[in-house]
Symmetry: C2
Subunit: 254 residues, 2 copies
């Protein structure tokens, strides 16, 4: 029986979940829907993609990286809780960099540089799949429009990220001759950043979701976020594995 | 040589296009990118889909139908031009109905009823592909956020709609035993509604796009809208032809 089913068995549909039940329901979403279950992810990590396909992945995924500090700024713009902003701001530092630290987006561009993709094209986002941009911007809107606790909850896919990053580092270094240690810097840094962020956000939603309806909305937010990630891999698979590249989208040089 | 190339040859990149050149550039987008070129569209109209696949199409496409009056209301909310609102409001009448006229969304639900899909499930939108909803909501946001003339331009895919609707009516009636005259009522009505709307919007953007940059933004708006439509068919093809239905999405009974 899944964690969700266990939690549902233990309490009625309107009863407040205990913190443990609530956390189990959130983690169960990842076990079922996180994008490490996607066929494109498995191909990426298993060395089954061509360089052209890895290029398309990195160019598209840049749009997601680029959107993250915007959604974090959107979240900070919505709260008068200074302590929350003081904690959340380090996500902006992580992605945009601060002072001498270039940040995660710059590290992503070192990855796309390493793959031989024109940096101006990556940054323009014009060659990304429309479906990538629709999904990514849906995430920014979600954080802008949903109740604050639910918006925080949508970040909780980071609970599931460290294992995917570890897999990615070893899988990609091992399987692709065109990927070296230097270009994997993004994922190495995220191994320590993501757990810190996820622990804070998980604690926050546990403390602030005070009704069952709010708890359910937080669980649904994690589902929504999994959909955002999954839809990006669906679009990549459709375009660059099945070969149905939509009009105007990136055609890798190979 | 394409219409766009002709237009670009005739004038410099910064020169204002003549109304004829501007219209040609808009129409060229449809010739290249409208979703009647998509493989799923061809399968749909050519009788190559199973009933289950047509069900999935109708359930997902409902999300688009449902969003249209919201984007039209968003557009009306942005203008102090009463004459524009007086014209535009009939799009809301067409979709939502007025008085005894039930409107296009109700006609769409007669289509989904006829296909045997539970109406409450359709209306809930919960079983639609996430990618469908991301694309559709991107359209609503576009109309909410872009300059008014550009927002109007994004409706101009209706220039290309009558032929697709004619094809759809004949193709679907001919090829699917489970589709009758009554359930095609939506498309029959659109044969007269879409051209009226498109003529007005085309005239509007021709009169209001007063710089080359605005004209280019209008052409890009039609490209954007084509992407919104294309991404929906990509997602349907991926899920219901290739069989990679994302977690939580509609599984047709067949």
């Amino acid at each position: 029986m899944s964690d969700v089913a266990l939690a549902e068995k233990a309490v009625g549909a309107d009863d407040l979940l205990t913190p443990e039940q609530f956390e189990a329901a959130i983690r169960a979403v990842g076990a079922q829907r996180y994008h490490d279950k996607h066929v494109f992810h498995k191909m990426l990590h298993g060395g089954k993609l061509s360089k052209a396909q890895v290029q398309a992945w990195a160019l598209n995924r840049y749009c997601y990286q680029e959107a993250v500090p915007r959604k974090d700024a959107a979240l900070m713009a919505r709260t008068d809780d200074r302590e929350l902003r003081r904690e959340w701001i380090h996500r902006l530092h992580d992605h945009d960099g601060l002072g001498d630290e270039p940040g995660g987006i710059e590290r992503w561009l070192i990855l796309t540089d390493g793959l031989g993709i024109d940096r101006a094209l990556v940054v323009s986002k014009t060659a990304a799949l429309p479906a990538t941009r629709f999904a990514v911007e849906a995430y920014v809107r979600f954080v802008t429009e949903q109740p604050l606790t639910v918006a925080v909850a949508s970040s909780l896919t980071e609970l599931f990220a460290p294992s995917i990053h570890r897999e990615r580092i070893s899988g990609m270094l091992e399987n692709y001759s065109f990927i070296g240690d230097d270009v994997m810097a993004y994922f190495k840094r995220r191994l320590t950043q993501a757990p810190r962020d996820a622990d804070f956000a998980l604690d926050y939603v546990k403390r602030h979701a005070s009704t069952r309806a709010e708890q359910d909305a937080c669980v649904a937010a994690v589902q929504f976020k999994c959909n955002v990630l999954w839809a990006q891999l669906d679009a990549l698979h459709n375009a660059y594995v099945e070969g149905r590249i939509p009009p105007g989208a990136y055609v890798p040089p190979g």
